[in-house]
């Protein structure tokens, strides 16, 4: 089987599984969990096979064109980085699915939706890491966000879950949008979305500002996904998700996408000056902030979430300080985090399941009842604290070592990083101690005793496996070297990694480590002395409040904008429209005059032509009644004015040599006046007409009205003068005069135009007449809500109420 086909299968399997689980009725697929598990395992095998076949050398597979116009193709890149992440995603996926089997048992909600969501996520995650096209990467990237939204909101009836889901979606989508902008800008610079091409060729030196802008925009996307300050707040709020989801998406895989992106970008942008401060400052601040918040929290999952934030900060900061030649131990750190944090999240789920609470203030003494879980937790906590014989120790040793060496290179940033890393390590020790001691040791509260359910082996085994890995690799680290070696990526990794050993001698790092552990334990002792409860996160550190505030302010701004821009009343709406039209035209005219004086406009005007005393006289009789219409208050007078003005237009048409128009105008005016007479008569009879026909309005409104009318009138006058002053010398109308007799067989050119030359206009116009008739008839019939509909209120569109089939 070719590499391409294999990869296609690996990518499609989760998607197909998700569809099958979601859409196939329950009675045909009774065990969605097993199907999901099978799919994940099959995919894992596939990825391993691909890995063994592809070796360490990057290769591109599957270059299928999808939207060539946008430069998007289904092109995938198999290299160490993508394989490493794929293995993580699928390996962790298998464990999480096993765990979910136990976790979901007996839970409410549609399990099919849950498993479909997990598989959907798995598929999009695999797509992201394998993408060779930046656009394709972005598409999958957003899909992971969508999957996260659906999974966080799995228990959708809880308000908190919905809020957490909304927060995570909005944060990741907005930052994703920013990232998209970065991708698009990068394409403008490099001319392609193809990652391999960009990696191969050095960046052009022509668009320095743009490149920095691209970098910033792309990094914002990574920060959003990886919950780096200032976007760190969504991750703890995403903990309303079911625990397997937290363990999988929000600790092990999806949040690592930011790190993945940084790893991908490192070979491209790593040499830019902006790289280190841009990534480093937020990342290390996040690291410290996360650790502080973790120590303050009392909810088990919140502690873990904040510590994840902290660790993500470190992982990104690691790339920030990386030397130009490449980094070496990123996989080790990622793997270490995966082992202990995955295990801890699962433990948290077990504890919640077993004891009915996640609040460490309400837990304690669970070790005798949950020995295996307690052991897993202890190992994982040791790894988190960086104690020897775990991967955590290894990771911390190298962390400190590199930080100390980078210290001098990066100046202030280096010092900042050192301070952050040391303080964070100390804090980590403290909250690791807090977790293990508060949950599994001490006195068991009565609530726990009352609630206790023993977890099934489905639940307890996966964390044990993860902790076992952490322990095993910690004891015999030399195994790791050959395991991680094949995943090396040129450009990203310097390839100078030391051989992992359990003992490096009495080095500087070891002494610091020792001091940190002791100080950390002391910190725990001081801060959690006796039964003192956890302080909790103070409200001024809760950035989600800022987010919610922003969200509410957006809605408030919406209301304000509606108040400002929207009106119900027809006259203010028309006022706005006409005023805007007038302003626009006026602005342009002013600009013209400003640019060249009145000359350019006046040259088109022919003031002398076409003045005829007779027409002017008729014009006076058109305008005077119109003015009368404005001024008169009695309805009879107004109707008379309207009629006179209309009939004088007839005379004007006669003078304009338009007999057809004159006749039509005469008849139309008559019928209109009859209709208006009927209206006025009816309304007057019932006293519906206001006595004072021009209702009073405020002085300002009245002034505005006069101003708008006058200025629009002036604008129209000027417009006509300017535009019709020099009409086209050869209008098409001449053709109709010439040929009305020989071609349309009629002497009356107006009529031949109407029925023949431009018959389509007339056809449309009589359609308008018919439609208007139907509208009038519709107006004369009023919908009447029946009692059922009256009960339901005015929101319901008439006739839509259901359950009335029988009645009608």
């Amino acid at each position: 089987m070719s590499l391409g086909l294999g990869l296609a299968l690996v990518l499609l399997l989760p998607a197909a599984g998700a569809l099958a689980v979601a859409l196939v009725p329950r009675r045909w697929l009774p065990f969605p969990g097993f199907i999901a598990l099978g799919v994940a395992m099959a995919s894992l095998c596939g990825v391993l096979a691909i890995g063994s076949k592809a070796g360490a050398h990057p290769s591109f597979v599957l270059d299928w064109s999808w939207v060539p116009e946008c430069g998007l193709s289904l092109s995938f890149l198999v290299d160490g980085l993508s394989l490493f992440f794929a293995v993580i995603v699928l390996g962790m996926g298998v464990l999480v699915l096993v765990y979910s089997r136990g976790y979901m048992a007996g839970r409410e909600g549609d399990h099919r939706r849950f498993y479909a969501g997990l598989l959907f996520f798995m598929g999009s995650m695999l797509g992201t890491v394998f993408s060779n096209n930046l656009l394709l990467l972005f598409i999958f990237w957003e899909l992971t966000g969508l999957a996260s939204f659906l999974l966080i909101g799995f228990e959708h009836t809880s308000e908190e879950a919905r809020r957490g889901a909304r927060m995570s979606l909005l944060v990741t989508a907005v930052t994703g949008l920013v990232m998209l902008l970065g991708i698009v800008m990068l394409k403008q610079v490099t001319g392609t979305y193809d990652l391999a091409t960009i990696l191969r060729s050095p960046l052009p030196q022509t668009h320095k500002d743009w490149l920095d802008a691209c970098l910033v925009l792309l990094v914002v996307g990574a920060f959003g996904k990886s919950a780096i300050f200032p976007f760190h707040f969504w991750l703890p709020n995403a903990m309303t998700a079911p625990t397997p989801v937290s363990a999988y998406l929000h600790s092990a895989t999806m949040v690592k996408l930011g790190i993945f992106l940084c790893a991908r970008l490192f070979p491209i942008f790593g040499e830019r000056e902006l790289w280190a401060p841009l990534l480093g400052v937020p990342a290390f601040s996040t690291m410290l902030l996360g650790a502080v918040l973790a120590l303050m929290s009392s909810d088990l999952k919140a502690i873990l979430a904040y510590s994840t934030v902290s660790q993500l900060g470190y992982l990104i900061g690691y790339y920030a300080l990386g030397p130009n030649g490449g980094v070496d131990y990123d996989y080790l750190h990622i793997l270490n985090h995966l082992f202990y944090k995955g295990s801890l999240f699962m433990v948290a789920g077990i504890v919640e399941h077993a004891a009915g609470s996640r609040d460490i203030g309400k837990l304690g003494g669970l070790a005798p009842r949950l020995p295996l879980t307690a052991a897993s937790c202890a190992i994982a906590c040791a790894a988190m604290a960086g104690l020897p014989l775990t991967t955590g120790f290894l990771s911390k040793e190298f962390m400190l070592k590199e930080i100390f060496s980078a210290f001098s290179v990066h100046g202030y940033l280096g010092s900042f990083a050192v301070v952050c890393v040391v303080l964070t390590s100390l804090l980590k020790v403290a909250f690791s101690a807090k977790i293990i001691l508060r949950v599994f040791f001490g006195k068991e509260p009565e609530t726990v005793t009352a609630h206790f359910h023993a977890p099934s082996a489905w639940m307890t085994l996966p964390p044990a496996v993860l902790s076992g890995c952490a322990l095993l690799a910690g004891i015999a680290p030399s195994f790791l070297n050959p395991l991680l070696q094949p995943f090396t990526v040129p450009g990203l990794h310097a390839g100078t990694a030391e051989h992992f050993q359990i003992w490096h001698g009495w080095t500087r790092e070891l002494w610091v480590s020792l001091a940190v552990v002791l100080a950390g334990l002391a910190l725990y002792r001081v801060s959690h002395y006796g039964d003192r409860p956890c302080p909790g996160v103070p409200s001024y550190l809760k950035a989600e409040r800022l987010f919610e505030w922003l969200h509410e302010k957006t809605i408030a701004a919406g209301r304000a904008s509606v108040r400002l821009f929207q009106t119900d009343r027809e006259q203010s709406a028309v006022l706005a429209v006409t005023a805007f039209a007038g302003v626009t035209l006026g602005a342009f005219a002013w600009k013209q005059v400003f640019a060249g004086g009145f000359g350019p406009l006046l040259q088109f005007v022919d003031f002398t032509g076409g003045m005829s005393p007779l027409r002017l006289l008729v014009g006076v009789f058109i305008v005077l009644p119109a003015l009368g219409l404005v001024l008169f208050r009695s309805w009879g007078g107004q109707l008379a004015c309207l009629g006179i003005s209309g009939f004088m237009v007839t005379v004007y048409f006669v003078l304009g040599r338009a007999p057809d128009l004159a006749l039509t105008q005469l008849l139309v005016e008559t019928v209109s006046i009859v209709a208006i007479y009927l209206l006025l008569g009816r309304c007057a009879k019932q006293g519906l007409l206001e006595q004072w026909s021009d209702l009073p309005s405020s002085a300002m409104a009245q002034g505005l009205r006069v101003a708008v009318s006058c200025s629009v009138a002036a604008a129209v006058g000027v417009l006509i003068l300017v535009v019709t002053g020099m009409p086209h010398h050869n209008p098409v109308g001449n053709f109709f005069i010439r040929h009305t007799e020989d071609m349309a067989h009629g002497k009356n050119a107006v009529n031949t135009i109407l029925v023949d030359f431009r018959g389509l206009d007339t056809l449309g116009e009589i359609t308008v007449l018919l439609a208007a008739m139907l509208g009038c008839l519709g107006l004369l019939m009023r919908y009447r809500r029946n009692s059922e509909e009256q009960k339901q209120g005015r929101d319901l569109t008439p006739g839509l109420g259901l359950g009335e089939e029988g009645k009608s």
Binding site: F607, G609, V623, V649, L661, L679, V712, L779
Partner: protein
């Protein structure tokens, strides 16, 4: 035929718009009638100066004639505005009967942008 027509059209536009902006829907209706007359006259202005020309009915010696196309357009426009006028008249009538007023302030006294309370 522009300076005088321009003045007439401008005046009609002004009056019409002033009436359209009235609170009273009947006056608004009058305003639209004036506006449509104004636009028709404007269209007529585009057929040029009619003096010395004949109506566009071809017969013995009826040349030169005025441009017939604007007249045809006006005829269409008159009929369309007639249709719309009829609709407007009935609409005002309906509103007057339903709400007992032709004052649009009263008509929209309750703010009705989706914030209104269902009765």
């Amino acid at each position: 035929m522009q300076t005088d027509t321009a003045c007439i059209v401008a005046a009609l536009f002004g009056c019409g718009l002033y009436l359209v902006l009235s609170r009273n829907l009947v006056r608004t209706l009058f305003g639209f009638l004036l506006l449509s007359n104004a636009v028709n006259l404007l269209l007529l202005a585009t057929s040029g100066d009619p003096r010395g020309k004949e109506a566009p009915i071809v017969g013995a010696g009826n040349f030169p004639a005025v441009d017939p196309l604007p007249q045809a357009l006006i005829l269409t426009a008159i009929v369309i505005s007639f249709a719309v006028t009829a609709f407007l008249v009935v609409l005002v009538y309906r509103l007057a009967l339903d709400h007992g007023t032709t004052d649009s302030e009263k008509l929209f006294a309750a703010r009705s942008d989706g914030e209104e309370n269902t009765p």
